[in-house]
Amino acid sequence: MASTAMVDSRWIARGEARTSLPQFLLWLAPWAIMLALGIYAGGRCLYYGLNQTHLDNRFAFGLWIFLDLGVIALGAGAFFTGFLVYILKRAELRPILNSAVVLGFICYSGAVAVLMVDVGQPLRAWFTFWHPNTHSMLTEVSFCITCYLLVLCLEYIPILLRNRQLRKLPSFLVFEHQLHKVVPVLAGVGTLLSFFHQGSLGGLYGVLRGRPFAFREGFFIWPSTFFLFILSAIAAGPSFLMLVTALVEKITGRRLVPGEVLQRLGFISGVLLGVYVAAKSIDTLIWLNFTSPAVGFAPWQYYSYQPFGLPILLVEIVLFGLLPAFLLTYRRTAARRGWLLSAAALACAGVLLNRFVMTVQTLALPTLAFDEFLSYTPSWQEVASFGGVVAYGVIVYSLSYRYLPLYAPPKGENSHVSGN
């Protein structure tokens, strides 16, 4: 055991204090179990088919799609931070960049994994690139998610290669060094991709002419939800990043990034959230007064089914929108860590609620006058695979935190190596 501990310590960056191996394993154990259960459940769905879920012909999308939209919205922190650091050259955010990349990687890979279980014939996923329907938002989604996941992998590799042992191999170290030089390009591409990905996820529902609750007018080929999703994602992304950082600091009991960084994040998040709430409110008003009545659906009727009453809309806009926007931007509250974090939490809750409403409420509401209002409770297989993704995230992040320089700014930049 002692020797294993010794070996383990060799893999931890020198001078970084990390908890003892046993303690770390103890921390991982429950998550590992959760992950195993998730893999088992997912396996069942792949082997026996989707009859393992409680999805049905009317509730064709459920927990999983909500999960996808949710994590991808939260994962937006990755591309947005990259964008700020590399494109807008906001060096002060550099300390959390690595963490952001890892989070993005986790969210996207998790989402893709779940999607592969969610579709009935995963083996045909590539058809989309073979005979794509270019009018479909889903085509745009699969295109972006595939490419961007690739980008995230490439952004993750340098961080991985900085591990104390891996870097001992000269080729790795040099490759990492070279890769690092092209990362800005990747960040640019990634920004573009993720931008469109977030948007097309919004478009996914906005284009549903047959679902007046979700249908929105828009510009060119994109409904307004396209832009709302982007806004909400880049507003919530930084907040999520902030929460995770704070959480890690709490768990490890160490200050990882200077407080200003969090405040900076909070401010960006708050401003964007404000813009988003404004846009969302205008959009909602247009929809309630013009778009929906135009196809013969009285606005009130959507909210006449419990539990999806009008309150849910107000909560989304005021409690999870205006309030955090204010708390994050107002100097006095932003200065207080407690306020800052709870505001961030509200912001994240807001974007999750929005994704929930867009996916679940849309399907629950009847379209034909003689349809029922539907409810649906996920099966244990769905819940387990959901938990599996969460566990996967925690595990990957923990490992990255332990063995990789997540919060240490890579030296490559500040001491300029004259590569060539």
């Binding site: 020797s3 010794m6 005979h131 000269p170 060094h177 092209v182 030296k411 490559g412």
Partner: protein, 274 residues
């Protein structure tokens, strides 16, 4: 046209979409390829080790990065920003004159004034036949004592300054020794010979660029004394006064003597590992 599809027909939007898709994919691919290609090129042009060294140098603790002139007391405080490449250093000046021959014993460990010292605790000595001999300095030798195993490079293989030249094992710790100079190995020695390698330098032994980056004379004194201080701090048992050079003598086989110490860190600091 495509396999597995009956009656697929092209539309302009397909062209747009697919070209967009593959362009992006190509960009991503291109970045990777270029990175790989550059890596390969670096190896080809013997720049790999230099890169590694530079990026590792950047992560050395401040104390390990002092300029030779400070070590020699010529300037008050100056840390090297040049990865110890004095030949490329603008502030390097010629007044580092060769000191008289002879072994100096004033730190409890000796060092030869006519030898040139690399900060990875190797020395370089001139031989009559124009080759250079490379060995571990006294501090390193006393620290390790007799290594459990040594893994020497092959005769005739090229070595690059700051690259790992040979590896030793001691009590389960691996020690990577950095090459002090560029050149070709012409002779293999060992702990018992008093030297480890004979090197034919890439340039002529008298070429200033060959040895310029190595420490000598007063610099060695200053450097070693600092190294000893570091050792004292690192090796002292918790809450005791620093004392391991009792009577100025550094005991032999430190690693055997004080097995409980954090040798992982000590060795890394000593041999400039990361």
């Amino acid at each position: 046209m495509f396999p597995g599809i009956d009656g697929f027909h092209w539309t302009i939007s397909h062209v747009v979409f697919l070209s967009l898709f593959f362009i992006v994919a190509l960009i991503i691919l291109a970045t990777v390829v270029s990175a790989v290609w550059r890596t390969a090129r670096d190896f080809r042009m013997h720049r790999a080790v230099e890169f590694c060294w530079k990026s590792e140098f950047a992560e050395l603790p401040e104390a390990e990065r002092l300029c030779r002139h400070q070590l020699a007391g010529r300037v008050r405080s100056k840390s090297c920003g040049n990865a110890f490449e004095c030949s490329k250093c603008s502030e390097y000046s010629q007044f580092a004159v060769l000191p008289p021959r002879g072994i100096v014993h004033d730190l409890g460990i000796g060092y030869c004034n006519d030898r040139f010292y690399h900060r990875g605790h190797t020395w370089v000595g001139r031989e009559e036949d124009g080759t250079l001999s490379v060995g571990l300095d006294e501090l390193a030798e006393r620290m390790i004592g007799i290594p459990d195993s040594i893994e020497m490079p092959e005769k005739g293989s090229e070595i690059e300054v700051n690259g790992t030249v040979w590896r030793m094992k001691k009590n389960g710790n691996e020690i990577q020794v950095r090459a002090p100079i560029d050149g070709t190995i012409v002779g293999i020695g060992g702990p018992n010979e008093g030297w480890y390698l004979k090197i034919r330098p890439r340039l002529d032994a008298n070429d200033p660029a060959t040895l310029r980056h190595l420490l000598r004379g007063a610099e060695v004194h200053g450097w070693l004394s600092r190294e000893l201080e570091r050792l004292q701090v690192q090796l002292r048992p918790p809450n005791t006064a620093p004392s391991l050079a009792d009577g100025g003598e550094l005991m032999h086989g430190l690693m055997d003597a004080i097995p409980e110490a954090d040798w992982d860190t000590v060795l890394a600091d000593t041999f400039l590992e990361i």
